[in-house]
């Protein structure tokens, strides 16, 4: 067992993607995780569960992005998907007023079910189609602010705003996690209550040989 790690942290976050069909959820994650758009030759087997490793101010973050089935008949299954998630990316299509209405419904439901533990991002996608815009920037941004969410503009097609969106989300999730950590704080924690929350684990710095104590499995 290699000892004496400096206690670097790895955060693991679960983020759910919500939004009406065809607003570009799948395009967004594929662009983010694989930098691909509408590519028929994509070798990716699936785009429903994707992960991304980030390094934010020296802290390692494992981001797991969960695509959700958007069809109306699966709506009731939402709670099963977003259970235990740290963040939600709510996508609408700026050319489609209805899809924005859907986002509002999701926000209501998420706040009701998960309270303020979850970081919400409202994302207006397809800004390359600004000439057909049907959701005004002011409306969207003021709505986001009123529900404690952040608003982003993206285009999966042009790869605009996507890095920023996920980076920002990760920072906010880290803040939430750290606040939670401080709260349960100094050893007096009830492990049972923290168990299903964020996973925070002490970590070795990269330099030490990996898997020191458990190399044979």
């Amino acid at each position: 067992m290699a000892a004496g790690g400096t206690g670097g942290k790895t955060y693991s976050f679960k983020v759910v993607l919500l939004g009406e069909g065809c607003v570009g959820k799948t395009s967004l994650v594929l662009r983010y995780c694989e930098n691909k758009f509408n590519d028929k030759h994509i070798t990716t087997l699936q785009a429903s569960f994707l992960t991304k490793k980030l390094n934010i101010t020296g802290k390692r973050v494992n981001l797991a992005i969960w695509d959700t089935a958007g069809q109306e008949r699966f709506h009731a299954l939402g709670p099963i998907y977003y259970r235990d998630s740290n963040g939600a990316v709510l996508v609408y299509d700026i050319t489609d007023e209805d899809s924005f209405q859907k986002v509002k419904n999701w926000v209501k439901e998420l706040r009701k079910m998960l309270g303020n533990d979850i970081c919400l991002c409202i994302v207006g996608n397809k800004i390359d189609l600004d000439k057909d815009r049907h959701v005004s920037v002011e409306d969207a941004e003021s709505y986001a602010e009123s529900v404690g969410a952040k608003h982003y503009h993206t285009s999966a097609k042009l790869n605009k705003g996507i890095e920023e969106l996920f980076l920002d989300l990760c920072k906010r999730m880290m803040e939430t996690a750290q606040a939670e950590e401080r709260l349960k704080g100094n050893g007096a924690s009830q492990s049972a209550s923290s168990r299903r929350g964020v996973q925070i684990v002490d970590d070795e710095p990269q330099a030490t040989p990996a898997g020191g104590c458990c190399s044979s499995g």
């Binding site: 290699a2 000892a3 790895t10 087997l45 959700t68 089935a69 259970r83 684990v201």
Partner: protein, 509 residues
């Protein structure tokens, strides 16, 4: 029936043969070794109780041996691990192969075990090797011995794994042993409480490894996988589908529900499978096999792996069909379709078991967790599924559910209403066959009833005709000389009646 009473002129079944062997007055049942349900349950409980005690005794013994093995392997002269592990306490494990598949519903388990017993009682097996016959006398332990054989292997692997960890390895071993010992005294906790215990243990152990021993997160993950495997292999029997829950009832409900939904097609679910492509249908078959296999695994993580393998086959099938990576909108309907096709055994119990006892980090953020969540969604969808979820009218849905109509995969809707030739659907064919058998049976029953009625009428009229005859004779030969012989004739009449069958009362056969 274990005993038959043969008499001259064919088989005669005595009333006493049908009664419970314990003499409680209720009817016994061959499937319960001739006991009534109540006595059988008592008997079974007794055997089971003993089996559980035996198991724990064995577990404790193994643990002591493991301890010793562990200590010796850390002595100055390290022994090879294979020699330091305990030998199998029971000879003859090899002959137990056929019993290893005994991981069925509890109710099935009971009946199946009895079937084995029955087999040993039947004349043909009298010549069977003695060992086997002894095995048959106490049916349930044979299952547990196979299980403990697997458990031995897992324990051995666990010790081998921990040896590489040195000091923390010893600590982990100590903790796990203490925990399992602890759990044996908590048998009557509710499922949620059992889950809490196990989850707290995972959490505390992981915390300790990270805090005290400064393990890296990767190492902790690896250790926790092994810990889960070791602990859950041992606890599986007492915490999978425990009697304190209605898991078993839900399993049956789901199974019946899926059976009732056999008519749901790919088109209704909007699944992107083109099963005409051989590679696609191959993947579909593999996916079905994988999700069925889940039930045979004991460790939560192994069950999860089955779900993940199933999901990967689904992705392949979608990818081949659509030529683009599957999104959640492709995946979920496809998974629902696979679950409907597979009707996986004990689906609800397995979902509950994984939720309660799996290492939480795997379920929350890992890839396995994503597929597992989708399986939960599929199960929930199937439970709630209605006309709307399949884009059907309520009338259509009702017709399909009641079996009055069956959709054609081809989509030519007129087809089913015309007097179809031999139905292509095997379920329909079976149904037709059953209907034929039923109508044949009802015809035979009617004939039987008719015959019974005429027999009854005959019997009723017979004493009358005899009486008539007697009267006629009396009239012909008046009995003036011996007036006391009149009652004597009545007596004779009674004697005659003794040879008659008892009067039949009309009853539905």
């Amino acid at each position: 029936m274990s005993q038959r009473t043969e008499r001259r002129g064919g088989i005669h079944v005595d009333q006493s043969d049908l009664l419970c062997k314990k003499g409680c007055g209720y009817y016994g049942n061959a499937a319960w070794q001739g006991l009534c349900s109540k006595c059988w349950r008592e008997e079974y409980q007794r055997v089971r109780q003993k089996q559980i005690q035996d198991d724990w005794a064995l577990a404790e013994k193994l643990q002591r041996e493991e301890e010793a093995a562990y200590a010796s392997s850390h002595g100055p002269q390290t022994q090879p691990p294979s020699q330091s592990t305990p030998p199998h306490p029971q000879p003859g494990h090899a002959s137990l192969g056929p019993f290893s598949k005994f991981e069925e519903k509890k109710t099935n388990e009971k009946t199946r075990k009895v079937t084995t017993v029955k087999k040993f009682f039947s004349p043909s097996s009298r010549s069977a090797p003695k060992k086997e016959t002894q095995e048959g006398k106490t049916p349930s332990p044979s299952v547990s011995r196979r299980a403990s054989f697997d458990t031995d292997q897992v324990s051995k692997d666990f010790v081998d794994f921990l040896k590489n960890l040195q000091k923390p390895g010893r600590e982990i071993h100590k903790q796990c042993r203490a925990f399992i010992g602890n759990m044996s005294s908590k048998k009557d906790l509710s499922a949620d409480e059992l889950s809490e215990c196990v989850q707290d243990f995972y959490q505390n152990l992981a915390d300790r490894l990270m805090g005290h021993f400064k393990c890296s997160s990767e190492s902790v993950e690896q250790v926790m996988d092994q810990v889960e495997k070791y602990i859950m292999t041992r606890l599986y029997k007492s915490v999978f589908c425990p009697e304190t829950t209605d898991d078993e009832k839900k399993d049956l409900a789901t199974q019946n529900r899926i059976r009732a939904l056999h008519w749901v097609t790919i088109e209704m679910l909007c699944v992107s499978f083109d099963e005409e492509i051989p590679e696609v249908s191959e993947n579909v078959v593999k996916a079905i096999t994988d999700v069925i296999e889940m039930d045979s695994k004991r460790v939560p993580r192994d069950k999860l792996s089955c779900i993940t393998r199933c999901s990967k086959h689904i992705f392949s099938a979608i990818r081949i069909t659509k030529k683009e990576p599957a999104s959640a909108d492709d995946f979920l309907p496809a998974l629902i379709y696979i679950v409907l096709k597979a009707n996986p055994p004990r689906l609800q119990s397995n979902i509950q078991y994984i939720t309660r006892f799996c290492n939480p980090s795997r379920l929350m953020t890992g890839e396995d967790g994503y597929y597992f969540t989708n399986l939960c969604c599929a199960a929930a969808f199937i439970e709630k599924l209605d006309a709307q979820s399949l884009n059907l009218s309520p009338e259509e849905f009702e017709r399909y559910m009641s079996g009055q109509a069956s959709p054609r995969c081809s989509g030519s809707e007129e087809d089913w209403s015309s007097p179809a030739p031999a139905p292509t659907n095997p379920v329909l064919a079976q149904l037709n066959q059953n209907l034929e058998v039923l109508s044949g049976l009802s015809g035979r029953q009617e004939a039987l009833m008719e015959a019974a009625h005429s027999l009854q009428a005959d019997l009723l009229s017979w004493p009358e005709s005899v009486q008539h005859e007697v009267h006629d004779i009396l009239k012909k030969y008046p009995l003036e000389v011996l007036p006391r012989s009149a009652p004597a004739i009545d007596d004779n009449n009674d004697v005659d009646n003794d040879n008659l069958p008892p009067p039949l009362t009309p009853q539905v056969v």
